[in-house]
């Protein structure tokens, strides 16, 4: 059964490349939202955390203990892009959906239903990046979280 995330939720997309955001202008770039093929759900997806009920510290904690720890390439969490779920759902001509996928984390969800045409996916990813807000962590805080994990 698919469970959609409510439009009022705040979604966090964790960013693992410094090329996916501009620190000085505090902007998220489209690379942060380009979807990849998920073997688990067998379709394109962009993984997000429904952090509506979480504090800032808890969101970063989930970023380190869940998103970073799940990675197999050793990349470290660099930033995150926050976006309202309703903004994703209302993305004009995108027709995206946000579906819970809780096998690894109870607040995990996927942005799904990406257009078939790659350039339309790119347009959607660019729109999401422009409408999201960049949040930068305190490196000290992340190191503390990593040492605890």
């Amino acid at each position: 059964m698919t469970v959609e995330v409510p439009g009022s939720s705040r979604l966090s997309r964790f960013i693992f490349s410094k090329s996916h955001f501009a620190r000085e202008s505090r902007r998220v770039k489209h690379g942060a939202f380009v979807p990849t093929y998920s073997a688990k759900i067998q379709k394109l997806a962009a993984s997000v955390l429904d952090g509506n009920e979480l504090s800032e510290a808890d969101i970063w904690s989930a970023g380190v203990t869940f998103a970073e720890a799940e990675r197999t390439d050793g990349r470290k969490l660099k930033a995150r892009a926050d976006i309202k779920c309703e903004v994703v759902l209302n993305c004009k001509d995108c027709n995206l959906a946000v579906i819970r996928e809780t096998s690894l984390h109870e607040l995990h969800a996927n942005i799904e239903n990406w257009p078939e045409v790659e350039s339309a996916q790119l347009l959607a990813a660019t729109e999401l990046s422009q409408k999201s807000k960049l949040e930068l962590p305190s490196e000290t805080e992340l190191e503390v979280l990593r040492s605890k994990h």
């Binding site: 690379g31 050793g74 004009k92 339309a120 790119l122 347009l123 660019t126 729109e127």
Partner: protein, 161 residues
């Protein structure tokens, strides 16, 4: 048909001069402004590409399936930016699933033009040109085909429009 100098390869003359061990001072003296600009642009492109490649190489060997950037993607970006020589060098980013993304931004006009390169001799692009003015598409990586792209990027970045 308009033609453009393929300046990413050394000209025959300069290559011969280098092979002969010609005077560097003399070469610099005769360097045209255009050539200097071209070299500066190439340096900027290489620097941008090197930055994202370094980031990928830092993680090399761990699991490169998601973060791998193919040589053909690098070459495609380099070649495309030679063809698109009327527009500024964009920001570079690596793409999940392999590949390179580029972004041109006009912050004042809130216009963004982006393109992705997966190393398949194709450019996939999208533009948010203010309000509901959007576009997306793809073109094969051929000089004559991507002139349209140059116009679109130029249009997005042009302050007067």
């Amino acid at each position: 048909m308009e033609t453009h100098q393929s300046y990413w390869l050394p000209s025959e003359e300069s290559e011969i001069e280098e092979n002969r061990g010609g005077s560097i001072v003399e070469d610099q003296d005769t360097l045209s402004v255009e050539e200097a600009d071209n070299k500066s642009r190439i340096a900027e492109i290489l620097s941008g590409l090197a930055e994202i490649l370094n980031e990928v190489f830092e993680n090399e060997g761990k699991d490169s399936s998601e973060t791998n950037i193919t040589v053909s993607a690098v070459l495609d970006v380099f070649m495309a930016l030679q063809y698109l020589h009327r527009v500024p060098v964009p920001d570079f980013m690596y793409l999940l699933g392999g590949g390179i993304g580029v972004e041109w931004l006009n912050e004042k006009k809130n216009k963004t033009f982006v393109a992705n390169f997966r190393g398949n001799s194709k450019i996939v692009y999208a533009g948010l040109l203010g309000g509901d003015d959007k576009l997306h598409g793809s073109v094969p990586l051929q000089e004559t085909k991507i002139k349209k792209l140059e116009y679109l990027v130029d249009d997005a970045l042009n302050e007067s429009i």
